[in-house]
């Protein structure tokens, strides 16, 4: 099951050229970008691992693309996203965030029902990927 998080996630995967154009758009708005990765696809998992520091002084997409490709090389078969922060409001505001890499196979989620007192039901989602230990959740391409 393809996970849909962030901007453009209902579109087909962006090509490198399209990613580069989006990155340049963010840079032109004065938004610094950062690259993050994870192998826990749960939708409530908002804190992904940072790939290096946010790039506060990049001017051109080529520099960011370089980091993106380094991250892809180091963590193949994980989710990687790019965030753009809009600091102009005086607080850290994510202006744009989109997934740029995903595992080849995404096993998806199962719905767990837990029966609690008075026959009430609690629902929770369970990512099949998390059944394996962290770092080993997706087959390496």
């Amino acid at each position: 099951m393809r996970i849909t998080q962030g901007t453009f996630s209902y579109l087909p995967d962006l090509t490198d050229e399209e990613i580069s154009a989006q990155v340049q758009y963010a840079l032109d708005q004065g938004w610094p970008l950062s690259v993050e990765f994870t192998d826990d696809p749960h939708p409530r998992n908002t804190y992904w691992d940072m790939w290096g520091l946010p790039m506060f002084d990049a001017r051109d997409a080529a520099g960011v693309m370089h980091e993106i490709n380094e991250c892809r090389k180091a963590y193949p078969g994980r989710y990687i996203r790019v965030n753009a922060y809009d600091a102009s409001k005086g607080r850290q505001t994510t202006a744009l965030s989109f997934i740029i890499s995903r595992p080849a196979e995404e096993p998806g989620f199962r719905l767990d029902r837990q029966e609690i007192s008075d026959r009430r039901i609690r629902y929770t989602t369970h990512a099949y990927a998390t059944e394996r230990p962290a770092g080993d959740r997706y087959p390496r391409p």
């Binding site: 962030g6 580069s20 154009a21 758009y25 939708p43 001017r59 051109d60 080529a62």
Partner: protein, 326 residues
């Protein structure tokens, strides 16, 4: 849902804006001309706005004739290359890495700035910004510190021009475990593989750069343009001073003009003369003395002319006139 950006989706989701991709960077679309068509080079030249930069270079920089000739040649090459691309002729991106050698204060940094602007107008640099660094910003202090540091600088310079001042400090022959070598290797890799993203300009004194290239032949061969900046003549120094004064809103009295020239002639003969930089420093000190003189004179009735005019005594008090030359 947390972590999900609110607000409208910015930018186009697909399709690349024209002029972004490296392939069609040199002015306009690739191979849009039939084999028997003609292009108007003058028109292309006007469109690129390259003449503004070249004229500004001529107007604002005194002397430097060999440098200006070389830059005009490079500009012509890039312009012709862009037109060749329109006919589908082989247009491998030319190697644009440069090395500026010359004494202190001969305008290497200034020319590098203009170069960045020029390359942008010709479509060979996307942002046209200049990142000026020295050894400290590239080379780390301990093992494993250099690579991230150098890469950080390279990332910042992507799409523009990386200007490495006093580049010969990168390599220290006396210490074979110096981290400078690591920075050089990373630089070389990027200079070779990401030519369309980055132009590197090295700068330094001629003799030391020569030694640097001897110990780093790989660096020398990746640099296409070695440009030597000549020392300024006395006349050129005087015109530089005039330009600086005009910019700062000062002028020399006729007597002071002769004194200023005499000052420059003496200063040139002294050690540690650094061309335009020395001229600037001399004028800064003359402004100090001028301010003191105006304040000590008749501070109640000062005209605009008094505030603008530098007199001989503003220069004569300088050490240059008391110390023996040489």
């Amino acid at each position: 849902m947390p972590g999900r950006p609110a607000g409208p989706a910015p930018g186009p989701a697909s399709g690349t804006p024209a002029g972004r991709t490296p392939e069609n960077m040199p002015n306009g679309p690739v191979a849009d001309m039939p084999p028997d068509g003609t292009v108007d080079l003058l028109e292309a030249r006007k469109l690129s706005g390259v003449d503004d930069v070249l004229d500004a270079l001529d107007r604002e920089l005194v002397g430097l004739a060999p440098v200006k000739t070389r830059i005009r040649e490079i500009a012509a090459l890039l312009l012709v290359d862009a037109q060749r691309a329109r006919f589908g002729l082989a247009a491998a991106r030319p190697n644009l890495h440069m090395c500026f050698t010359g004494g202190p204060g001969t305008g290497k940094t200034t020319v590098a700035l203009r170069m960045a602007e020029l390359l942008k107008r010709l479509g060979y640099s996307r942002r046209g910004h200049l990142v000026a660094v020295t050894r400290e910003e590239l080379v780390g202090q301990y093992v494993g510190h250099t690579a991230p540091k150098t890469k950080e600088v390279l990332k910042r310079a992507m799409g523009g021009v990386l200007f490495i001042d006093e580049a010969y400090y990168l390599y220290r022959a006396e210490n074979e475990r110096d981290y400078g070598q690591e920075a050089i290797e990373i630089l070389l890799q990027v200079m070779e593989n990401q030519r369309e993203d980055l132009v590197v300009i090295l700068a330094g004194y001629k003799d030391r750069m020569d030694t640097f290239f001897q110990s780093n032949p790989g660096m020398s061969s990746r640099i296409a343009h070695h440009i030597d900046f000549p020392e300024y003549s006395l006349d050129e120094l005087t015109s530089i001073g005039d330009l600086m004064l005009a910019e700062a809103g000062y002028r020399l009295s006729p007597a002071a003009e002769a004194t200023f020239r005499d000052y420059l002639a003496r200063r040139r003969a002294q050690p540690r003369f650094s061309n335009a930089r020395s001229v600037r420093n001399a004028l800064e000190r003359a402004r100090l003395r001028h301010a003191g003189r105006v304040l000590a004179g008749e501070p109640t009735a000062v005209t605009k002319d008094d505030l603008m005019r530098l007199e001989p005594e503003d220069f004569l008090l300088s050490r240059v006139f008391t110390e023996p030359p040489g």
